[in-house]
């Protein structure tokens, strides 16, 4: 990623970044509201094309503010769909193991719109774990999670990095991940002409 800076309405959001995300790295993306964290993540995921500079896009897990679950389907069905999108077959047993670890076993067959906010978030987390991408782009993944799940999520991030994966995570909490790198977005100071 070279001197990347994202734009909204032809306006630079933050000072150009130089960033290399290597295996095992966990980058904590901080910055006040509106500093462009979400926009940066969307750009890295290939969902935003107004930017300057360069970056290498790789297949990645992206989790935005919106969860990406079809609310009419159950968590299990949603997972099957995501697997299908990537032309993979969902290993049902593995999916159930993952859901169990996230405490969603009882809800595996409940349509997502009937789940509470935190339960839906956890269903989305299951997707990352099953996707087998090494890069995770996460936008405030701790929202709506209860204390126990927050601990679990920190563990999961840690494990993912241990296993050679990489994480870029926008958050307002402090990640409890050993070896994390903190990156603060600096808003562009507009110079009046």
């Amino acid at each position: 990623m070279l001197a990347l800076s994202c734009q909204r309405d032809q306006r630079d959001l933050f000072e150009p970044l130089n960033l290399v995300v290597g295996p095992g790295e966990c980058i904590e993306l901080l910055g006040p509201n509106g500093s462009g964290k979400s926009t940066l993540l969307r750009t890295l995921a290939g969902l935003h094309s107004q930017y300057q500079g360069e970056y290498n896009s790789v297949a990645a897990v992206y989790q935005g503010h919106r969860l990406g679950l079809d609310e009419l389907l159950t968590p299990l069905e949603n997972l099957a769909w995501f697997a299908g999108l990537q032309d993979q077959h969902l290993d049902r047993d593995r999916a159930l193991t993952v859901l169990a670890r996230l405490g969603l076993l009882a809800e595996a067959h409940t349509a997502c719109y009937r789940l509470s906010a935190g339960q839906q978030r956890r269903a989305a987390i299951a997707r990352w774990l099953l996707a087998e991408h090494s890069l995770w782009l996460l936008d405030e993944p701790f929202n709506a999670l209860d204390v126990q799940s927050q601990v679990l999520l920190n563990e999961l991030l840690h494990e993912h990095c241990q296993a050679g994966g990489a994480v870029v995570c926008a958050t307002h909490l402090q990640l409890q991940v050993v070896g994390k790198v903190t990156l603060e977005l600096e808003p562009v100071v507009e110079v009046a002409l």
Binding site: L47, G68, L72
Partner: protein, 220 residues
């Protein structure tokens, strides 16, 4: 691919309205038209059968609006754009399921509507043939419009209207076929055109839809 298809089907069936609404709309608007034409009893049937094909197109058009709406709102569309292994297939499946629940379904109900409209029984089969050949083009072309408009809920434009003009060929050849069928003439020529149109949109529309979806997702 199987999993994708299954998801589309499950979701469609669970929004029960998506199957019953088009049928009900078609039926009721036919009734309305039949009601407002009280006098002319002789020209009645040809009037209604002329209207029939237009209404089928309109109904189809209306059901298009929901094609990507829920996925857009939930963020599932973003996921699809990021991770789809075969964009063409992913989009095509969605369109296919839309066709199943609109075009094909209406085709199956032609005998019922035909009886209601008092069409001759011999024309049912030709009409069904025309619909099977023609309605895929509606779903295919319509998906482009649906994809472009899904991001426009805010600051919306007249994009749905941009798509209606594209239906003109379907409309023309289709109604040519149907009126030929009703008068017992051969309709091989317009049917061939219709088939050509459908199959060329089969090759092209999914790509356009994919491009349109990308634009929509970036727009927010």
């Amino acid at each position: 691919m199987n999993q994708l298809l299954q998801r589309e089907l499950t979701a469609t069936l669970r929004t029960r309205g998506s199957v019953t609404n088009p049928l009900g709309f078609l039926l009721l608007s036919l009734l309305l038209f039949a009601l407002v034409d009280p006098g002319a009893q002789d020209g009645h049937n040809s009037y209604l059968s002329g209207i029939f094909w237009v209404l089928i197109l309109l109904t189809n058009l209306l059901s298009l609006d929901t094609m990507f709406r829920r996925d857009f709102d939930s963020g599932a569309l973003e996921q699809m754009l990021i991770s789809a292994h075969m964009p063409f297939v992913a989009v095509l499946l969605r369109i296919f399921v839309h066709w199943l629940s609109s075009g094909l379904l209406m085709t199956l109900f032609v005998p019922l509507f035909g009886l209601l409209l008092g069409l001759q029984t011999e024309t049912f089969l030709p009409i069904m043939l025309v619909m099977v050949v023609g309605t895929p083009a509606v779903s295919l072309l319509g998906s482009i419009g649906a994809a472009l408009t899904v991001g426009f809920s805010r600051g919306g434009t007249i994009l749905a209207l941009l798509i209606l003009p594209l239906f003109l060929p379907v409309l023309i050849f289709g109604s040519a076929c149907i009126s030929a069928a009703i008068s017992g003439l051969s309709f091989a020529a317009p049917l061939t055109w219709l088939g050509l149109f459908s199959s060329s949109s089969l090759l092209l529309a999914p790509w356009a839809t994919w491009a349109a979806l990308k634009i929509s997702v970036e727009m927010q």
